[in-house]
Symmetry: D2
Subunit: 232 residues, 4 copies
């Protein structure tokens, strides 16, 4: 038997406070029927394929968000960290995604030319706009539901008795985001929020940051919904 995967949040840290403050939207996102359907394998494959195509488009704008983070950083260490994340998305993650999608019969050309769904546009452009209207902390708060949420979703599915991995076409997805390697990425985002909260006055700005985090969580839920409804 496996030990439960622990919560990645720092107790009393900024991420924990944001998640508590946006609890209803957060739960709608991390416990979405799309997620449950991956866990027990009942999600229609067409929904997952639709999600994969949109996730490819999402990744492009996700990389742009890290480009903005590099521009907005005020020291070399933060610039290098953002540049590394951007490079990892563009050179590594997108390659893995393309390979994974090929296994689902989806070619890169098909993904490149697919129209971006409203849910994809909404979340990605919201993140970029937060990054340009606000500072590095506003940007990272907008990114957090994605980066940390995927690890929490996968951990929950791994811990949940309703999940079955044998013969589940989505088992690889779950394992990837429950993997220590991805969990380290998510944990780094939690720690980055805590550090930026210190240097950029995060607790004094809590109300505004919560609005951003709450909106981003709703938009992530909308992304699952788009997958489930084959939405445009």
């Amino acid at each position: 038997m496996t030990a439960k995967l622990p919560d990645l949040a720092t107790e009393g840290g900024l991420f924990a406070r944001l998640r508590d403050g946006a609890r209803a939207s957060w739960d709608t996102y991390v416990r979405h029927d799309f997620v449950r359907g991956m866990g027990d394998g009942s999600l229609p494959e067409a929904c997952f394929r639709h999600y994969l195509v949109q996730d490819y488009l999402f990744l492009i704008h996700f990389a742009r968000a890290y480009a903005l983070a590099a521009f907005k950083a005020d020291n070399l260490a933060d610039m290098r960290a953002a540049a590394k994340s951007m490079g990892a998305i563009l050179d590594l993650e997108m390659g893995l995604h393309v390979k994974y999608c090929a296994g689902w019969g989806i070619g890169e050309r098909e993904m490149e030319t697919a129209p971006e769904a409203q849910a994809t546009l909404a979340y990605t452009r919201f993140v970029l706009e937060r990054g340009l209207a606000g500072d590095l902390l506003d940007l990272h708060v907008a990114l957090a539901p994605c980066v940390v949420g995927y690890a929490e979703i996968a951990a929950w599915l791994m811990n949940d008795p309703a999940t079955r991995l044998d013969g589940n076409p989505y088992a690889d997805w779950i394992r990837m985001y429950a993997d220590p390697e991805y969990r380290a990425v998510a944990r780094a985002q939690v720690e980055l929020l805590d550090r930026l909260a210190g240097s950029r006055g995060g607790h004094a700005r809590f109300a505004a940051l919560l609005r951003t985090f709450e909106a981003a969580s709703r938009l992530e839920a909308g992304f699952w919904e788009m997958g489930l409804r084959l939405g445009t």
Copy 2:
């Protein structure tokens, strides 16, 4: 009997070419069931009220887009024009909207605190992101479906035999956007696109601009759809 309201596009101009190139998405937007329902008065009032609340939130980001246009302008005349548009939205249009909404029983406080629908987020942040990723022409192409489209919609409804204005709760809306004053605003946007096409290489950039215009038209259609489905 009234003379037909003529098309606002300059023949062969950038707007006309963009509208032709994005015809399917454009028609989905300007001939949307929400629009038809306003024309014959059959649109459920709850849908219209939902639209009005989201349109209030939309206007705020619309004003921000003109703030960006002022920042991005490279001469005083364009800066002043953008500043004037921003001022008109913030000081005039929003006031009229609030007053109009009061007539529908919707208070300003209710609108301010309403959660932004995904469709509202998607279109507004797309416009702002286009403005920051691209130049002034990219920004104004993203704005055009809204500014010019509303005039075209109202003109079409005024010209359409299916439209009835007597006893139609939406008659004021139609008349406002068919009014010469609003048509002059829309016509100015058409002319601005033609001018920027000249100074900023619009025809050489047509493929990229068309992608922006097409996406913005789809997002406008999504805005009507959100109204019709009472979407979140």
Copy 3:
């Protein structure tokens, strides 16, 4: 005899702390030989004329900074305040400047086509870049040396026994920035900093804000220096 013009800073407020922290750069700016030369009338007129031309170019980018502030504001009141400031610069202040420069024999066309000096480029683009890399507070801290500094300079000159106003060609300049109307603008900037310090964690971010304020003060001193040296 006249009462001394009091300091505009709030004791213990963000502006006061920034000014104390950047004291050496601040004093180099507000006590610059260009300033002293205006006070006792000894400044060569060619220097003042050179300054006036560059100040015209400065104002354009100053207006753009308020456009950015409108874009970055997260509530309607702040958007309207920024839009009003931008409008005041574009529609009022620039007109007054043009009129004042005409009195010095400098035409608007001459100012429009003058090459921007390095000192002008440095300060204006620094402000805009702070505004885009950071948030609204970073932007307003970068603007503060200009807005508040001019009032402080004029007050100091009015209070200084070395100043003579009779027959001083710069007396109008001094009176304009010592006037209650301009002092109210400067005081509003001090209060805005205090308010933003509260809502956006200004005191936790003090070290970074001080770097911005110190650089902006040095760049303002460089602006005087450019005037004095007829610099390009």
Copy 4:
């Protein structure tokens, strides 16, 4: 005897047209006394050391400009190219610079904490502001005087009979920028401008692009001047 290093510009290409259009400012930059002093070894070492420290600060903002380029790119190939350039600056070029400066007795800590000179602020923030106010082409035109100019300067020095490399403390600097590896980077920038001129209407926008290129060339000349005058 060595073959002359050929011009990197494409005849009739955008870069060649910009350089011709801004000839006076360009020549002031590439034939600056700082440059001549490196060529014949007569430049005082204090000037070169001052330049090296400011160049370190310059590189940081140069990397940020490529971060912006990645954000502004509208296809994966351009995003990856920008990300690669940014990574090369942050991970490679800055390391080489630090090592080279150590040979001149300048430590990294000294460079990190040095106040940024007005000339450094002016050029770097101008580039970033062009990148945000305009599009990818505006940004790359602002970067071109730096990227291509250094190769042209080194080639001119290598070709110039007045240059002596034996016992010249600046010989390594000249050789580095005359090296085929660096020349390939500069040539790639020339080709990028030609490609962007095609896709983003560069020739229709020539007047505005020339203003940017001319200002950037003047600011590069100002950077040498700062070195020569030990300017702050």
